[in-house]
């Protein structure tokens, strides 16, 4: 395993959601599941983050925010759409201001289904995401060399 996969720092952004998935994200960091044992840190700063966790759907107001957070993250980075809202818009899909899932504005690497997601599914996504981080790092190196 490369160094990236041992220290994935996440940033969590909540779009247009019911908050259910956000609570699950936090639950995954709490003592019972304790994501920090894999080196995960929940940071508030995009410039320190490796994984962007997006919950909730994209609407007119937050699309520039999501784009901005994504752009501020240093490469290599991975985006995980958490919950069905972030995947496709979910139950908010028909709303007049909702554009759809997170992939409307940023390239999403993983979709975690569920309404709300289970912490186990989230941990699964985190493990998959760190593997991809290493791959992206290698691609980045190869590109430079």
């Amino acid at each position: 395993m490369g160094a990236l996969s041992k220290s994935p720092w996440i940033i969590h952004y909540d779009g247009s959601s019911c908050n259910g998935c956000d609570i699950e994200v936090l639950a995954a960091l709490m003592p019972r599941f304790d994501l920090e044992r894999f080196g995960v840190i929940n940071t508030g700063n995009p410039k320190h983050a490796d994984i962007l966790l997006l919950t909730g759907s994209i609407n007119e107001q937050n699309k520039s925010v999501v784009k901005n957070i994504y752009d501020q993250m240093p490469h290599p980075k991975v985006v995980v759409a958490v919950g069905i809202c972030a995947t496709s818009g979910g139950i908010f899909r028909e709303c007049y201001n909702v554009q759809g899932g997170a992939d409307k504005v940023v390239p999403v690497d993983f979709y975690v289904p569920g309404c709300a997601v289970r912490p186990e599914a989230l941990i699964d996504a985190a493990v998959a995401a760190v593997a991809l981080l290493d791959k992206k790092r290698d691609a980045m190196k190869a590109g430079k060399a």
Binding site: G2, K6, S7, W9, G39, G44, K47, D50, P76, M140
Partner: protein, 282 residues
């Protein structure tokens, strides 16, 4: 062989400091009922940061952090090679100044507030550090660390108040609650990441390594108070570190006014009274 201590510091301090910071996270996790990351986590973090892209607002902001690292190492080298205690304190301040300048240079509102708060923190701990140097001089009649460590009696016996004042400001230097105003050890906080907000990749790794060097230097300073008994000295340094973890986990961040008043209050009351007593005793 005066240079040996300095050389050992340059080579070994990052390992000791990194390990301490890993142990810190492990113990903190256990206190919170979590399993916590492996003790090597701090090294994994830095190894990762070295591989990340280095985003900067202005290219020069990196330079300030290079100086921060260099001066932090210089501080420790001076100290561990038995140099002049006053010079050590000047070097420490110099390192702090570069850290603050780096925060200002990045010119984001978050790092700006972080830099301002860091300045306040420096202002808060400086009196206690100076009083510690003065107190140690009054007991040992020397500012040379090489001579201070060979002082025959336990220095703390004559300087309990000064040591208390110094212990009080350790929390600031370790960047622990309740005094982690400028940037926190913990990732999530209301100021995003304070002074380090605009730093990423390699530069952030350098900041992290500078903190490891700082850890070892500070614990070395604690050791100085118990230098006549090396075993006790090391034990007390580690105990002080553990106390910081406990304090970190049971307290919330305070306002800067409180920080300044408390650290100056303790420095001038406990430290000052101690110095006064030594003077009167002659």
């Amino acid at each position: 062989m005066w240079w040996l201590g300095g050389l050992l510091f340059i080579v070994l301090a990052p390992f000791v400091g990194g390990l301490l910071s890993g142990i810190d996270r492990k113990i903190t996790a256990r206190m919170q009922g979590r399993i916590g990351p492996p003790v090597w986590q701090a090294f994994y973090d830095v190894a990762k940061l070295l591989q990340k892209e280095n985003l900067v607002v202005r290219p020069t902001q990196k330079m300030y952090m290079d100086f921060f690292l260099v001066f932090t190492i210089f501080t420790g080298v001076l100290f561990f090679s038995g140099g002049d205690l006053l010079l050590v304190i000047f070097a420490l301040t110099m390192a702090g100044v570069f850290f603050v300048l780096g925060g200002y240079k990045a010119s984001s509102p978050y790092s700006f507030i972080g830099a301002q708060r860091e300045t306040l923190q420096m202002m808060s701990y400086e009196p206690a550090v100076l009083i510690a140097a003065v107190g140690i001089y009054m007991v040992t009649r020397s500012f040379q660390v090489a001579q201070i460590v060979h002082h025959p009696t336990l220095i703390i016996k004559d300087l309990p108040g000064v040591f208390f004042a110094f212990f009080f400001i350790l929390t600031i230097k370790f960047r622990k609650s309740p005094f982690d105003l400028s940037t926190s050890h913990h990732a999530h906080q209301e100021l995003v990441k304070g002074i380090t907000t605009e730093f990423s990749g390699r530069t952030l790794a350098k900041i992290e390594i500078a903190h490891w060097y700082e850890y070892v230097f500070i614990l070395g300073f604690v050791y100085l108070f118990f230098a006549s008994n090396p075993v006790l000295g090391v034990a007390m340094a580690l105990l002080a570190f553990f106390c910081e973890l406990v304090i970190d986990n049971i307290s919330a961040r305070v306002r800067w006014q409180w920080l300044l008043a408390a650290s100056w209050g303790v420095a001038f009351v406990a430290g000052g009274a101690n110095i006064l007593y030594l003077m009167l005793k002659g």
